[in-house]
Amino acid sequence: MVQAGAGFIESHVEADGFLVRYMEAGQGPALVHLHGAGGLRLTPGHDLLRRRFRVIAFEMPGFGSSAENTRTGDMPEMAATMARAVDALGLDSFNLMGTSFGGKTALWLALQQPERVHAIVLEAPAAIRPQGTEPPSGSPEEMARRLYAHPERVGPISLPDPAVRAKAGRLVGRLRGPDRDVDLENRLPSLAIPTLVLFGTVDRVIPPEMGHFYKELMPNCNLVFVYDAGHAISTDRPEAFAEVVADFVERRDAFVVSQTETVIHP
């Protein structure tokens, strides 16, 4: 099996004085991706999406091998930095996908610059959480059990070294905000961009029951459950993930109209 993300090219762009790393592949409409609290990890879902989109997966400053980010104070600030990173790529408008922690970044970015975002996809977003939710931590085995529906199918998970995790952990702790972020939730009703919220039915980080809050708060939100997927939907069920994401990004609200052919023989 080819490693997920093998065809992606690594580049860097400057934004707010940070050197922001990103991975890019594919052609077509731009799909900007903001990763979860564990950092940038390309998945089989990215490989499928790059067949239809120009996928740009950023590494937010402070994650991975970038220098510790002690500057970004909160999530809106991180969102503004990432918007400038997109500027630096010369993209006026784009589709925006955020995973878990990055789902919250994506929402803030869209609130700051709604005219630039065609569609929002939130993969297991962590912007609204039950009281006391902690980001997954622990040994690779413990992490795998939290993230994947069937860890045994995914194989060993490779975690960044402890120093990298500690550095990013401090940033996440500062940016993730309260479990119920009143400031954000008060603004969501004004965010009319077509939005797709995805939750795996066996998410063991953020309960899928959080999904309906987005639908209640946002005027143009679609909630879809991905059966038998955990928190890492795009790893657990990449085909199911990529199909619904691509369909939504391409057709937006009209994705509810089925184009699935059922003719067996003409």
Binding site: L198, T201, G211, H212, K215, E216, N222, L223, V224, F225, V226, Y227, D228, R237, A240, F241, E243, V244, F255, V256, V257, S258, T260
Partner: protein, 359 residues
């Protein structure tokens, strides 16, 4: 112990039936069919009066024995013609239904008969895969996913889409909602490790059928262990045991009926090649232990005797298995009409039922 009567829409053919499966529709006798459906209601009213706790209904296709391909239709009919009895729809064969429609139908029934509906969902018998052309190797996965989707359709407060393996919906928003929250009492029907796990994970009851007491006990033990693992404990009423019964005035009479049944051939056998292919492709287990699927074979009689013997057996069953609801299929071997069924029901209702309440 609660007692449920399993109503099958019993059809008595006036003449000789062809013995191959499937029976050709042209031999269906309309008069006999009308009698079967009238009988259904007569029996439900009768057992309601006798004090049975539940009436159960099932889904069987292409069957000249049981004219009940649409359990929700049966249930709606029973709802309208009974007063207070609990109606157990056991159940939709979810592996070959549209799960959203199952959720809608059952939610509607729950509204039509508030507080009276009990639901069981199942994979279906191996032979039944033939009726809608279900690939036996997909049956279990489809069942699990469909049950999950039915539960979601009942409980999710907002419209949602479903990106499944076997089912895909962009918009699910079921009206009416079930009257009971989160949903009517629901059971996973099956003895397999997977059924136990699903029921335990979703805090559902479990329905086990036709196995001898010791096998039922093994399954219920496994189920309880899984429930404990998921942090809860099922009540006795959350375990149903569907069983065959031959009840007669005396033990001897019951035994001779059993002899008559043993002499009878299994009805409507499948062609050997079809049966073998089904057995090869289907996979079944009892609490994790592999077993060969039963395709068209006779099922054991689990309770047999005069009233005293039956009372003793029900007591023993409760003690050994922990089941809280016994769902009885009354056998009347050799009877050419439903008269002896009514007699069995009356005997059970008057001489057994009052003595097992405290079990």
């Amino acid at each position: 112990m609660k007692i449920s009567y399993f109503e099958t829409g019993r059809y008595h053919a006036p003449g000789n039936m062809p013995r191959a499966w499937p029976a050709p529709p042209e031999v269906y006798d309309r008069e006999a069919g009308a009698r079967a459906y009238r009988g259904m209601i007569e029996r439900v009213r009768f057992i309601e009066e006798l004090g049975f706790d539940w009436v159960s209904l099932s889904e069987h296709h292409y069957s000249p024995h049981r004219l009940t391909p649409a359990p929700v239709v049966s249930a709606a009919h029973v709802v309208a013609t009974s007063q207070k009895i609990t109606i157990a729809v056991l159940g939709p064969i979810v592996s070959q239904s549209n799960p959203v429609q199952v959720a809608e139908n059952l939610a509607m029934l729950d509204n039509l008969a508030p507080g009276r509906l009990v639901v069981g969902m199942l994979r279906g018998t191996t032979g039944e895969y033939l009726s809608y052309g279900l690939n036996p190797t997909e049956a279990r996965e489809r069942t699990t996913e469909a049950m999950e989707l039915v539960l979601k359709a009942w409980t999710e407060p907002q419209p949602f889409g479903w990106q499944g393996r076997h089912y895909q919906f962009r918009t699910v928003s079921v009206w009416p909602r079930p009257t009971r929250q989160p949903h009517p009492p629901t059971y996973a029907l099956g003895s397999s490790r997977e059924s136990c796990e699903f029921a335990a994970r979703h805090r559902l009851g479990l329905g086990v059928s036709y196995a001898p007491f010791d096998v039922v006990a093994r399954v219920t033990r496994h189920y309880r262990e899984r429930c404990a693992h998921h942090g809860w404990e099922p009540t006795p009423e959350q375990i149903i045991y569907r069983a065959n019964i031959i009840v007669a005035a005396s033990d001897d009479e019951a035994q001779s009926l059993l002899e008559a049944q043993r002499r009878a051939r299994a009805p409507f056998p499948l062609q050997a090649g079809v049966r073998d292919a089904l057995i090869e492709l289907d996979s079944r287990n009892v609490a994790g232990e592999a077993r060969t699927p039963n395709v068209g074979g006779m099922l054991p009689t689990n309770f047999i005797g005069g009233p005293d013997a039956i009372v003793e057996q029900i007591e023993r069953c409760g003690a050994e298995t922990g089941v809280g609801v016994i769902d009885l299929l009354f056998q009347t071997p050799g009877a050419g009409d439903t008269g002896s069924l009514m007699a069995s029901l009356e005997l059970f209702g008057k001489q057994v039922l009052p003595r097992i309440r405290e079990v």
